[in-house]
Symmetry: C2
Subunit: 256 residues, 2 copies
DNA sequence: ATAAACTTTATTGTCGACAATTTGTTGACT
DNA sequence: AGTCAACAAATTGTCGACAATAAAGTTTAT
């Protein structure tokens, strides 16, 4: 029963390869060995995409053999992808137990936001000083798409696009290493929002991205930095990271 | 001929397992699958140690089979370790060509320092406000060891210990995610120093670590942050990142 | 003598099979 | 009935063998 359902869900997630709009892409830095297998990269993107879009929920077990048959790949290749995802902290690998979609703890969530508050305002400031017209239009495009998704009440797409907006800023700022780190933080943030978003407060406040865009357009670095900081605080406060009793999983933590 | 020599060097690097003083350790975060193999972790540390201590120079090719025989492990296990190292950007994996000790470019070097200037002063400030006596003595210990190495003109150990000092600060600051990112940056910095250190200026100016330690002892967060920023600038300026024509490898870059 | 095409060698990439581990289940014993 | 132990199923971990690729060396033709 449960097994069957699980199988179907993975299969379903296999189904829609139509919307192939790169998955919170990042040129994958210097492409790792994974890229060699020609389609390891594709599998990576599919799985990551499913996680980002919340079709694979945090905590979900990822069984190697089943993934292998879904993607028509060998287990070894799935393994490559899973280890890569685990290095990016999107998947947790438990020895002899398997791979699971990561479930950031409240502490980790706080740390992620602390890191972002440190890095992103500086990136925003930097970008504002050097931004080119083409970059501005790209950002506008993302914000517009996000707004459409918001209008359509497609929360998952909103979260994904919001992440892409932040990541795009990081990449445009011209520091590949910081961009790479921001990618990790952004991916984690997607998981965190799904885990801790309170029903009441919506994730990324409506127009703060618009304001950021304005600041970029005016090339006002200080304002961009300030807005970014405020924005991050705002997002974090909209989450239930206060002291919420967490998932059942955290029994170990509770009795310690 | 060349083959033989290469073999010997790797063998030699195998030789001294005596000084087993953990290699710029970081509790490896949540231990990845690598840890399962019981000794994959050990192999990882040995190779990373050799790179950090410059016994494996940047650009050096790492042949899987040879490593496997050196460590008495299977090629698959070596492969795990190499992919992990590549995710940490210490090793570059070229499809169908193999693994090489990373050679950060001047641009990457600048980016690394930019990132560190962003993150480390904040971590220093934070640590100064919360530092415990035990932590202070640990830091003192590291600085003392570094000074001993400097007195012994053991430049490689100086660089390694200096990296450990910075990493320890990051870990003590109480943000595991930032600590993880700092670990990457610190490892890269080790490679960068070996690549671009000018013969004249020595790497980590003598007493700046001492001054930092003072600031921590006084719990003076602002001073610690300021010193850290200054220190990083100082280290970067002591390098030949000006416009030095790089290695012969970078012919592609020169004609572009 | 040089350059192109071919052969050889060394190394990486991929896969399937087997061993080890964990998890769930059955059955015997108190 | 309940508890524990042995057993069975499912899943992960490891390895060796083979295929694919790139580099080096050799031959051949101009």
């Amino acid at each position: 029963m449960k097994t069957l359902q699980s199988t179907r869900r993975l299969a379903d997630e296999d189904a829609p390869p139509a919307q192939e709009g790169r998955v919170l892409r990042l040129s994958a830095g210097r492409r790792t060995r994974s890229a060699a297998g020609a389609d390891a990269e594709a599998i990576y993107r599919r799985i990551l995409g499913a996680i980002i879009e919340h079709r694979l929920a945090p905590g979900r077990k990822l069984v190697e053999e089943r993934l292998a048959s879904v993607f028509g790949a060998s287990r070894a290749m799935i393994r490559q992808v899973l280890t890569r995802l685990s290095h990016e902290m999107v998947v947790t690998l438990v020895p002899n137990r398997g791979a699971f979609v990561a479930e950031p703890t409240v502490d980790e969530a706080r740390e992620v936001f602390e890191a972002r508050r440190l890095i992103e305002p500086a990136l925003a400031r930097k970008l504002a000083q050097t931004v080119a017209p083409a970059q501005l239009s790209r950002l506008r495009q993302l914000v517009a798409a996000e707004e459409r998704a918001r209008a359509a009440r497609d929360r998952q797409t909103v979260i994904k696009l919001s992440g892409e907006f932040h990541l795009e800023i990081a990449e445009m700022a011209g520091n590949a290493i910081l961009a790479r780190q921001m990618r990790e933080l952004t991916l984690l943030t997607c998981l965190i929002i799904f885990l801790y978003d309170s029903p009441g407060g919506r994730a990324c406040p409506d127009d703060e991205h618009h304001q950021l865009l304005d600041a970029f357009t005016c090339r006002d670095g200080e304002r961009a930095a300030g807005l970014m900081l405020h924005h991050l605080d705002h997002v974090e406060q909209s989450l239930d990271i206060s002291l919420t009793a967490q998932d059942d999983d955290d029994l170990e933590r509770i009795f310690s």
